[in-house]
Structure formats: structure tokens, C-alpha cells
């Protein structure tokens, strides 16, 4: 029943009109669509997968560490209220490496707030879907696929494979690392050298309560993180392993896998059981050569893919979201065409430099790890919250990596637009 719809004129189907089309309803695109709609910008979000598939346990086994500033973005877009019951505040972080047992200890009681939150990606997705349902100006079309995107000086037209046509002022590519929309626009990727590392990800149950403590160990093959999930007895693991070996480990029979796991995990939480599928994510670094084109903006992984050990992919995506919402809403309230070049240039100027910095930092740190820099890894794992709370450290980073990154978007400061 495969039906081909040509991308040329003559396709007939209902015509929908909106301000912004967001292609990709993942963590980043979904939050963006909710935030735009909440601020009066009519938005249609398209995802190739059905909501039911997105919430399936086999679809995305990851959990995300959400930095405080990004929690504010989820809050300001109304998503947080739908997920707050299922998040785990990170109260303490303990960093260890092979040489010294307690390398660094960071306690929330010293600063008076959690360093961030852990949530399963499915929890965030569920929150986004619930928020969509509340918003009059947000429409989710899923499953739906894009057949053609036409971007003109006077507007954009997105044609779906089922023949539906959407006319908009702006198209946003939020369709992940292998962004179709980015490729269609001919925006090139800059690649980092391969790390030859794989992130092995899973959820485990453990006998003892984690008490909101995150652990990060620096093992010879790469970082190994235990991140607390809600309820006290589940944690998300991100276990970095060298490339060919990782795939072998991933395929090990249960008993042998468990033995490998425990040799790294240790017994401090008592008995441990793997309760999810094992996921393997090759670690690569990629960055779009530009974030904008005629009536097009890239956000999230479509714009930048970083080493997930940084725990920053979604966080940086949410920074893009906060900046783009601010620019678009500003334009909308001035009566300016929300897809105008000036609006997009403002977004790119705001975000790309910041991301270059982060990618460079992440990349450099992954490669040049030394004991002296351990606190920086810790910071990456816990999210920008930690970095922000260690101003001296932040200044150190920034100075070494070029200079100031400019003002934070309002949504990241918890301010209304």
C-alpha cells in the first residue's frame, strides 16, 4: 500500500495554516511546540511515530539529567506540571576514580537546592503529550511524514506524504541527529573525531535506597554513571565502553553481563537487577555548520549531537528552545513575520556560539581527561546547574574556551515572556 506523493505542485489534500511547523516531536521539538503555542504562536508539530510508540519502553530506554535552568524551561512551557510526580531530585553527587575512593562530593545542603532532576525520557514525553492536549494553538500530527518542504521568501509549505499541506511562516527541524529536514536544506555537518566509545544504557533495580545520590566513576574505559530514578530503588546507568568491546558486552548472556556490570557497579546498593533492555549508543560529535536557512531553524540534536556522557544533549536542546521561543514570541508581539531572516539571525547568534563552546568543552574534556579536570566531568554529568553554582569553575571554563556566552534566555531564568 505504499503510496507515493510527488513533491511537485498538484498534490491535493486539506490545507492547514499556522505560524510554525515543528518537524520532530521529541523531547526538544515537543517542548518547543508547547512553548510556542502557550505564547500565542500557532504551531503544528509532526512526528513520524505514533504517541503510543514513543511511550513504549523499548523506544527510548534513556533517562535524562535535567539541569535546573532547563527544568525552568520545562516549567515555563507547562510540561513540568505533568511530569513532576515522576522525577527524582539529585541531592548529592559522588565522584570517584580508580585511585581515590572519594574524589569529590557535592551536597545539595550546601547550596539549598537540588542540582538537577532525573527523569526517564518516557516521563518527559508523557508530560509533553499531556501539555499538547491542553493547548488550543498546538496541534500534533503523528504519525505523519514529510514529503516535501518548500521554503520561499514569502512563506513555507510543508507537504506530508498523506497529501496534507501545511502553510507556515517558519519550519523548525527538531528531527534528531539524522535530521531529514537539515539534509533537505543542504546544511552540512561538521564531525568531530570518533571517540570509539559506546554508551551502554539501561535501568537497574537495586536493593538499597539511592537516597537521591548520583555516582560518577572514572574507569579506564570511560565514565560510568549511576543516576537515581524516582522511588529510591531504580537507577539509570550510563556505562561507557571502548567501541568493539561494548557491542560484545551488550550481547553477553545474562549471567556474564551481570558479572561485568557488578564489577563496575560494586555492592554498595546491595543486590542489583537489570530491568530494562540494554541499549547501545555510539558516541559521536556532530555540529551543523549553521542553524538557520531561509524560513528554517534547527534545534536540538538536529543542530548538535554531543557526547552523551556530558548529559547535556537535551539540556542544550532546551536552551535552543528557550532562545527560539523568545525570539519568535518577540517577533509575533511586534507583528513581525516570525520566519523573517532577522528573527532567525537573532536565534543563531544567540545559540550557535554557545553550543560551539559546549561541544568544544565536552569534546576536549572527554579526550583530555586528567585528575585535575574531574570536577568538570562531574559538572557535565549533573548538568549546567552545577557549573552555574561553581562560579569560579564556570569562569575558568569560559575564559579558556573563548569568552562570555551572553545573556540567558528568559525562560531559563524562570522569567515570564
Amino acid at each position: 500500500m505504499s503510496q507515493t506523493v510527488s513533491s511537485s505542485a498538484g498534490v491535493s489534500g486539506p490545507v492547514l495554516t499556522c505560524d510554525v511547523v515543528v518537524v520532530g516531536g521529541g523531547l526538544v521539538g515537543g517542548t518547543l511546540a508547547c512553548g510556542l503555542a502557550q505564547h500565542g504562536v500557532s504551531t503544528i508539530c509532526i512526528d513520524k511515530d505514533d504517541a503510543a510508540v514513543l511511550l513504549d519502553t523499548g523506544y527510548d530506554g534513556r533517562s535524562s539529567a535535567i539541569a535546573l535552568a532547563c527544568q525552568r524551561v520545562l516549567d515555563g512551557t507547562g510540561v513540568w506540571a505533568h511530569m513532576v510526580a515522576d522525577v527524582q531530585p539529585i541531592l548529592d553527587i559522588r565522584v570517584t576514580d580508580s585511585n581515590s575512593p572519594l574524589h569529590l562530593h557535592y551536597d545539595h545542603r550546601e547550596v539549598g537546592a537540588p542540582m538537577g532532576y532525573m527523569a526517564e525520557n518516557r516521563t518527559i514525553r508523557r508530560g509533553i503529550l499531556a501539555r499538547f492536549a491542553e493547548l488550543e494553538k498546538a496541534t500534533l500530527l503523528a504519525p505523519a511524514s514529510v514529503a516535501a518542504v518548500e521554503r520561499r521568501v514569502d512563506g513555507a509549505t510543508v507537504t506530508l506524504t498523506d497529501g496534507r499541506v501545511i502553510r507556515a511562516r517558519l519550519v523548525v527541524a527538531a528531527d534528531g541527529r539524522r535530521s531529514q529536514i537539515r539534509e533537505m536544506a543542504g546544511i552540512r555537518l561538521q564531525h568531530g573525531l570518533p571517540y570509539n566509545q559506546v554508551g551502554i544504557v539501561m535501568t537497574v533495580w537495586h536493593e538499597k535506597d539511592h537516597r537521591g545520590i548520583a555516582h560518577e566513576r572514572f574507569l579506564p574505559s570511560g565514565p560510568f554513571a549511576i543516576l537515581p530514578l524516582p522511588g529510591g530503588h531504580h537507577s539509570s546507568l550510563v556505562w561507557t565502553e571502548k567501541d568493539p568491546l561494548a557491542w560484545t558486552i551488550l550481547k553477553l548472556p545474562e549471567e556474564e553481563f551481570h558479572a561485568e556490570l557488578m564489577s563496575r557497579f560494586g555492592d554498595f546498593l546491595g543486590e542489583v537487577k537489570v530491568v530494562s533492555k540494554r541499549f547501545g549508543y555510539p558516541l559521536t560529535l556532530q555540529h551543523a555548520s549553521r542553524y538557520i536557512d531561509l524560513r528554517l531553524a534547527l534545534v536540538g540534536d538536529a543542530a548538535h549531537g554531543m557526547h552523551p556522557v556530558a548529559g547535556q544533549g537535551m539540556n542544550f536542546g532546551l536552551r535552543d528552545v528557550a532562545a527560539l521561543i523568545e525570539k519568535v514570541v518577540e517577533a509575533k508581539r511586534l507583528g513581525v513575520d516570525v520566519g523573517a531572516a532577522t528573527v532567525l539571525e537573532g536565534y543563531q547568534k544567540w545559540r550557535r556560539f554557545d553550543n560551539v563552546l559546549m561541544l568544544g568543552m565536552t569534546d576536549g574534556l572527554v579526550r583530555l581527561f586528567s585528575n585535575d579536570l574531574a570536577p568538570l566531568r562531574l559538572a557535565r554529568t549533573a548538568g549546567m546547574a552545577v557549573v552555574n553554582k561553581l562560579p569560579g569553575l564556570k569562569r575558568f571554563f569560559m575564559r579558556h574556551a573563548m569568552g562570555d556566552v551572553g545573556a540567558l534566555p528568559k525562560l531559563m531564568q524562570g522569567e515570564p515572556l
Binding site: 514569502d154 511586534l334 513581525v336
Partner: protein, 247 residues
């Protein structure tokens, strides 16, 4: 010669006629208007929101109000004003501009009443508007006094006028005329006749003759370091004002 006064200057109209195709090119001959558009839009929007008690975060906050954009050119202000909810009429002495503006509005899906006519034609027909815009036009008209009193008379009771032009100072001669036209090449040479620039007091006097009082005045200043425009207290080059019917 017959005793008919008109605001249209044939040379000015011919000049704009020759540039009528470039209105919507952000890097073209009207680049300065594009670059300071957001700042002046904010000025107009905020002044109107205060005057009419509207909430700027609302959807189409100015729904139910009428606005006329005098000397609308390609519609750089008319279109945003329509998006903000005003029922917009755009008029221009240069017929070709009205063509450009109409085609563009149609393409982006906005309904704007564009007409090739002069302010005095609207006045003669007894038309009145909640908001009258006279943006960067007074320095191009033939009869400034007639133009300003006519524009003032188009304002409904309870309404307002927003005006903008360039001041006649040494600084504006250097900056706006020599700088913008000869050094930075932002504008084609001969775009402006410095002698026709208007001091804020002259602008205010012209409006007063039509029954309006100027109630706010702001400078629009270019910051070369940040390559951006902002509202300031420096009226010496570009300035904006609002005026309302005298009590």
C-alpha cells in the same frame, strides 16, 4: 497659478518610483528601515497599548481599531500593524509603491486596504482613524504645514498620531546624510535633502495647527559597536513622537 496646495512633490515621487521594487529586500535600498523596524514597531505598539488599554501579549491586541499608514511605501509597517490586529489602510503618493505593497500583502496573506492617494484625499472624504502613522515621510513632502495639519485631522477623538523623521542638526547632516549616503552607502545618494529635515519643535507646531499635542518624544539611535538601533533620549538625528488630540 491656481491656488491648489498639494503635499506631493513630483521629484520625490519620481525618486521612490525608481526604487519601488526593492522595498522587501532587507539588504537593499531600504536597509535602514528594515534594521530599525523592530525598535520603531515596539515604540508604536507600546504607545498604542497604553493609549487604548490593550495587553501586548494578547492575540491581535488591537482588534477593533483602525490605523492609516501615510506614505506606507512597500508596507514595512502596514503589515506588522495588520498582524497586531488593526484594520489597516495604507496610502502612498507613489502609485508603484502601492503595487509593490499590495502584491506583497497578498503573498503573505494579509488583507490591507492599500490606496494610491494623498492624506488630503482622505481628509476630503471625511475619513478618520484611531491611529495615524507618519513615519519617515514628512521630509519628503512638498508642503509640510499642510501635510501635518491634514494628518492631524485624520485622528479620531481619543486616537493618536505617531510620527518619525530626522532632525535638522549638524549631527544629522554628518550622520544621516553624509554618513549614511556617502560613507556607509546604506542609502542611495540623494535620498535625503537635509534642508527638509524637521526639528521636533517644527513637527510639533505643524501638528498643533491640526489640533494635536505632542505627548512623547524619543530618539532613535544607532550604536555602531553593537550594530543595532535603540530608543534613547538623543533626538539629534532620528526621532519618534506621539501626539494626541488637545483637550
Amino acid at each position: 497659478m491656481a491656488d491648489v496646495r498639494t503635499t506631493a512633490s513630483p521629484e520625490e515621487v519620481a525618486k521612490f518610483e525608481a526604487m519601488a521594487d526593492s522595498w522587501w529586500d532587507p539588504n537593499g535600498k531600504f536597509k535602514p528601515l528594515h534594521t530599525f523596524n523592530p525598535v520603531r514597531l515596539e515604540f508604536i505598539r507600546d504607545a498604542a497599548a497604553t493609549r487604548f488599554g490593550r495587553e501586548i501579549a494578547a492575540d491581535q491586541p488591537f482588534t477593533g481599531l483602525s490605523l492609516v499608514d501615510i506614505g506606507c511605501g512597500g508596507g514595512l509597517l502596514s503589515e506588522p500593524m495588520r498582524r497586531l490586529g488593526f484594520a489597516v489602510t495604507g496610502i502612498d503618493a507613489t502609485a508603484k509603491n502601492i503595487g509593490t505593497a499590495s502584491v506583497h500583502a497578498e503573498k503573505v496573506g494579509l488583507d490591507i486596504d492599500y490606496r494610491a492617494c494623498l492624506a488630503e484625499d482622505l481628509a476630503a472624504a471625511g475619513e478618520k482613524f484611531d491611529v495615524v502613522l507618519c513615519m519617515e515621510v514628512v521630509e519628503h513632502v512638498a508642503d509640510v504645514d499642510l501635510f501635518l495639519t491634514t494628518c492631524a485631522r485624520l485622528v479620531k477623538p481619543g486616537g493618536m498620531l505617531v510620527g518619525a523623521t530626522m532632525n535638522r542638526t549638524m549631527k544629522s547632516l554628518v550622520m544621516a546624510k553624509i554618513g549614511a549616503e556617502y560613507i556607509l552607502r546604506w542609502l542611495p545618494r540623494g535620498t535625503h535633502d537635509w534642508k527638509k529635515f524637521l526639528k521636533p519643535s517644527e513637527f510639533a507646531a505643524g501638528l498643533r495647527a491640526g489640533g494635536l499635542e505632542v505627548n512623547s518624544l524619543k530618539g532613535l539611535t544607532f550604536n555602531p559597536l553593537e550594530n543595532s538601533w535603540s530608543l534613547t533620549g538623543d533626538l539629534s538625528v532620528n526621532y519618534l513622537l506621539t501626539a494626541v488630540p488637545a483637550e
